[in-house]
Symmetry: C3
Subunit: 302 residues, 3 copies
């Protein structure tokens, strides 16, 4: 980040006047970037955290007023790998009661991946824990798409408008500190986290619901995003994209999770949990469709 | 988009005039760096992609006119680990028909490693997919050498001069999109990719050939670099360094590959495939020499 | 080399005067940062290596005169995972005589992690091999603490004052080149590396000793940091934090190590070796306390 060098340079040669101005001049979110400079183009921008970490991420500057910051992507690198290398949003340790929280990525400051590879690998940037936000947006983008094709190739995009994050300390990092993604912390349905109603920007509640298998459709209501769901066996999942559970077999429609899923362990363990329960991408029984199984889940803040 | 920060930074100190000039000032390759600023020293430089990702890599500014950009290194971290953690150019998933493309690194935008550690770990920078090039150069450098010793410690260096990349959309990322490194996409020898003649900068066709076992030497012709070779069982490999297959047991002289190698699976799976088929570094039968087994393969563009 | 870009940027706006100042303005360590600019605040700063790699890390600017640079952290992500993914300071290859040096992180230039996540993941920055130092400091900080809470949440902090690194080429990278962390390089106690006396900044020799199990306390003397210890079976460990071995069961009080630990292999293999020999965090027999088992070991240079 050569410009950082310049900034550091100025700072350390006591041109503190530049530094002060610079403090005003490094945006911490795409929302701030839009508000202050009125950028209207979707694409990659540089942001900085409160502690001075500079990183590049994608800003959606056009949807519903724009100012959406990409902070994470959940990508299934191997549906057949059950909590193996690359399952950074669940566990890379094989699935075991000894690692109830798995890798713990939902509530720690570990970062990984890059914005340009967000549909080819798991991605988590410092904005995930640094930005104070009110709402989230989610995109489902087929794997291995280039940044400038994400929006046009996506098949589902939605956002919340309830400012629900105000009740959870302003971001998912803090939400998941309050509601741990950890085996054994609660029961279904008593201890599910919030289900927030959605506004669809591409697709609708029906097309969203049809991404999942018929059996789990019968146990969910579409048009909501749910955080920290629990399943029958007490396993915890981070995000149920587009649905609100009415039953407890949530491993077939929720992504991310703790490190232990007791039922047929480790068959439900992985970034996309039990999406392949009745076959890979079959869309039959409990299995999700090929379309949603082979797409990354991009998570934005505003 | 890194211009945003520059814009911001400079606007805040009222030097917005420089923005335009700055746009001219970030080179995308070592070739451009050399052409515009006539640098003649091998070493680490900063480059920027079209999307504004700034990264540091090694430039060979002296060989055959210079301007060579290091974009990747293939390093075998554990010859005994068959598609285990660290096999980023093949598969970290153990080797299975379920992951025919393995980690997919040859044709995605995932990056890893650093230039300074390119002989101690796998390395892939944004130049791999961002730079438009015509030729490639390859160095074989013993593992764990420091940057300033790479050239003197290397035992084999060569480059192409045919501008073959013009026929494959300008880089290996695009070449491997056209010719997937994936189990089952073709047969041997029908579906091998291009074999390009070499100009040697250190070593020659004979010393190059002798790096591999006698059995595979009898099935290859030296003095070429081959891309996307197929073996008897239909497994795909990315690069055969210095040789053109005349037979089909290419897993003993090619590096990188898909995630599945049927013969004695997973014994041929890994960044250096079946280099140890007749023992580690023995140079006997099908086995490669210790020298090539314990050296990283550095890949340059120009 | 990053100055090239700066040069270009600034020359293009005719501010080449800044360039000269910039050359003076990139500190290579927190010590240099303190000496030249008299910073007195603990926190994150940017540093640059001789080769121009710019990175951010934590500086302790207050302890014993300040100027301490965080260069690494050893974090046990899964005490039950024996040389599995995340054991970057020992081996991610399962533990085997075939990988006697494990991942080799103690004596190569591979870097990983970030300063902000240094208590949630293994961390190694370019300062580890780039900085020329005389002494080390170590902090034990409970896992998953935020940077601004490290000091207050830590339960043990100490440093050396003997300038012992002058005898080992100025840093741990070079020390471990001289004294490899590799199975089979020596015997216990003949081939232990240096044991350096400590000055405690938080805690004392007794509280330090009590972090480990009673059996190993009986075989160690507290108040020293020991580098490259060997155990009964010839396995090598990198750092024994706060103790000097008088016996040979050092896998119960030393962190980091080679890739092979013969006794009950791979039960002693991992970033925190055999800390759980008599149960996880029990503090009974050979087992370490829960407090030290669930804390990252932060390593500083000065």
């Amino acid at each position: 980040m050569n410009w950082i060098i310049v900034l550091v340079g100025f700072m350390s040669i006591n041109l503190s006047v530049c530094l002060k101005e610079l403090e005003y001049s490094t945006p911490r979110s795409c929302k701030e970037l839009k508000q202050r400079f009125d950028f209207n183009t979707d694409g990659l921008y540089y942001l900085s955290t409160a502690s001075g970490v500079v990183y590049q991420t994608y800003c959606d500057m056009t949807t519903a007023g724009g100012g959406w910051t990409l902070v994470a992507s959940v990508h299934e690198n191997n549906m057949y790998g059950k909590c193996t290398t690359g399952d950074r949003w669940s566990s890379q340790q094989g699935g075991s009661p000894n690692v109830p929280e798995g890798d713990g990525s939902w509530s720690n400051t570990v970062t990984f991946g890059t914005a340009e590879a967000a549909t080819s690998d798991d991605f988590k940037n410092p904005g995930y824990y640094d930005i104070t936000a009110e709402d989230v947006a989610v995109w489902h983008v087929p794997n291995n798409k280039r940044v400038d094709h994400w929006k046009v190739k996506s098949f589902l995009r939605y956002h919340t408008e309830t400012k629900f994050l105000n009740s959870y300390r302003g971001n998912l990092y803090n939400l998941f500190k309050l509601l741990p993604v950890k085996f054994g912390v609660g029961t279904c349905p008593t201890n599910h986290g919030p289900s927030v109603p959605l506004v669809y920007d591409l697709g609708d509640a029906t097309s969203n619901h049809n991404l999942y298998g018929p059996n789990i459709r019968a146990q969910t209501q579409s048009g909501f995003i749910t955080f920290r769901a629990i399943n029958t066996e007490g396993a915890a999942m981070a995000i149920c994209s587009g649905v609100k559970p009415t039953g407890c077999h949530n491993e077939h429609c929720c992504v991310g999770g703790g490190g232990h899923f007791p039922e047929a362990s480790p068959r439900q363990c992985g970034d996309f949990t039990g999406f392949d329960w009745d076959g890979y991408g079959t869309g039959v029984g409990w299995s999700a469709s090929k379309q949603v199984t082979e797409a990354a889940v991009l998570i934005f803040y505003r």
